[in-house]
């Protein structure tokens, strides 16, 4: 039986066996988003959805990496996801009209945002940084906590598409910075610091805001320092803003570990040990990650750095790594 919404008396006791999985209404497809709406959960195989025109977005990997059940099929008809309103007791034409209105409202809103704020947020770059998988997250966390034995730290470059080379997304490249872990670590840090103040009986809702501000200011200061240093030392093509922010966000992982050590009441010496270890791991991670940005290694660029400048850059890298202790010290003082 297709629908279980009988208004009459219920049928005699037979357990209804669904012939197809529960209906998931199709999100409205808008002409603005270049690849249609990406959904990474499995959808029932007999459900067809609209894949709008495939824009030649600069990042092709996202359609390639979607799970194989979601191959975007170029469809001639556009919207097939009109739910069965009649079964819910709503008049069909009214419902359709309402849906059209909703669609046009959403499209108009997106249009407005695109026109006014479209250029400000680098959406493709953000998408690239959130293109992570579970295995990547686990391995990256292991790397942040234990970076001593990792061998190749260079990011992999992707095959050139239409002539320009790009970095591989974090799914394929463990060395690629992402924004998922820093964002989650930031939120976890706020929650853990609030939890700690709660255990010490000095919680106050304002602490959430002040903790968030402190974390954001530390990330901002770190990023400004690296950017300023790169400008002063004339580092060519110094990576993207988003990459630098991502590198700066990994320190929260160590800070959270230290906070946990404090919560478990391990005693002051063990706490200091955990803090120093977290600082050392983070410093090495930052050092190795930024080395590929600051010191050119590809044979094309090696000649542009003369020895005096090279020494200065190495010194700058060490200074940045040492400053991590200051940042982590600020963050740990909940």
């Amino acid at each position: 039986m297709a629908s279980n919404y009988y208004s009459r008396s219920p049928p005699p006791l037979q357990h209804p066996v669904p012939t197809h999985p529960a209906f998931i209404p199709e999100p409205p497809s808008t002409p603005i988003s270049p690849q249609g709406y990406q959904r990474f959960t499995s959808s029932p195989p007999n459900q067809q959805y609209a894949a709008r025109s495939q824009y030649h977005a600069p990042f092709q990997p996202i359609p390639h990496h979607s799970p194989p059940t979601m191959q975007p099929q170029p469809q001639p008809h556009i919207q097939q996801h009109i739910p069965d309103f009649a079964a819910w007791g709503v008049n069909d034409t009214t419902a359709q009209f309402g849906m059209q209105l909703g669609h046009s409202a959403v499209a108009a809103g997106q249009d407005y945002v695109q026109k006014n704020f479209g250029g400000m947020i680098p959406v493709t770059m953000l998408k690239h940084h959130f293109n992570v998988s579970n295995s990547y997250v686990i391995r990256k966390l292991q790397l942040v906590i234990f970076p001593w034995r990792h061998k190749p730290w260079t990011r992999k470059v992707r095959r050139t598409e239409a002539g320009h080379t790009e970095w591989q997304p974090p799914r394929d490249d463990i060395n690629s910075p992402d924004l998922y872990i820093p964002l989650m670590a930031l939120v976890t840090y706020i929650l853990v610091s609030a939890f700690q103040t709660g255990l010490q009986e000095r919680f106050h809702p304002q602490i959430l805001g002040s903790s968030a501000t402190r974390a954001l200011v530390v990330v901002l200061l770190d990023f400004l320092f690296v950017k300023c240093g790169c400008y002063l030392l004339n580092v060519q093509g110094t990576g993207q803003v988003v990459d630098l922010i991502a590198y700066g966000g990994y320190k929260f992982v160590g800070v959270i570990l230290t906070l946990f050590a404090g919560l478990l009441k391990l005693g002051p010496t063990l706490y200091t040990l955990v803090f120093l270890y977290a600082f050392a791991a983070n410093a090495l991670f930052v050092l190795r990650s930024l080395r590929s940005v600051v010191l050119p290694e590809t044979p094309a660029n090696v000649g542009t750095v003369n020895p005096a400048s090279r020494k200065r850059r190495i010194g700058f890298l060490f200074l940045e790594a040492v400053l991590q202790v200051v940042y982590m010290g600020i963050l740990v003082r909940v």
Binding site: S210, T213, Y231, L232, N234, T304
Partner: protein, 96 residues
């Protein structure tokens, strides 16, 4: 406390400090003036002390710092007037 307000105030004061430096009375005295040719004559426009300005690659740290400071001064002269006005009015009325 490391609030956004304090960060804003500190950065505003620092930029004010950078904007207030006198070009000819102070910066030229310590050799940090933005680069025009300091020696009139036939001397080459750059020497070996990393003072190179025509070649972008050899521009030393000092030159880039000077360029940064002069750029900030040039750009922020007018907006600083507005920002300072806003902050002063706010502090007078609601500062407490």
């Amino acid at each position: 406390m490391l609030t956004i307000g304090t960060i804003l105030y500190v950065s505003l004061l620092l930029i004010n400090a950078m904007a207030v430096l006198s070009e000819d009375r102070f910066l030229a005295r310590i050799g940090w003036s933005s680069v025009q040719n300091p020696n009139a004559g036939f001397q080459p426009p750059y020497d070996q002390s990393g003072y190179g300005f025509t070649q972008q690659q050899d521009a030393g740290v000092k030159v880039r710092l000077i360029t940064l400071i002069s750029a900030v001064r040039t750009l922020m002269r007018i907006p600083l007037i507005g920002l300072n006005l806003v902050i002063i009015v706010y502090e007078l009325i609601l500062g407490g």
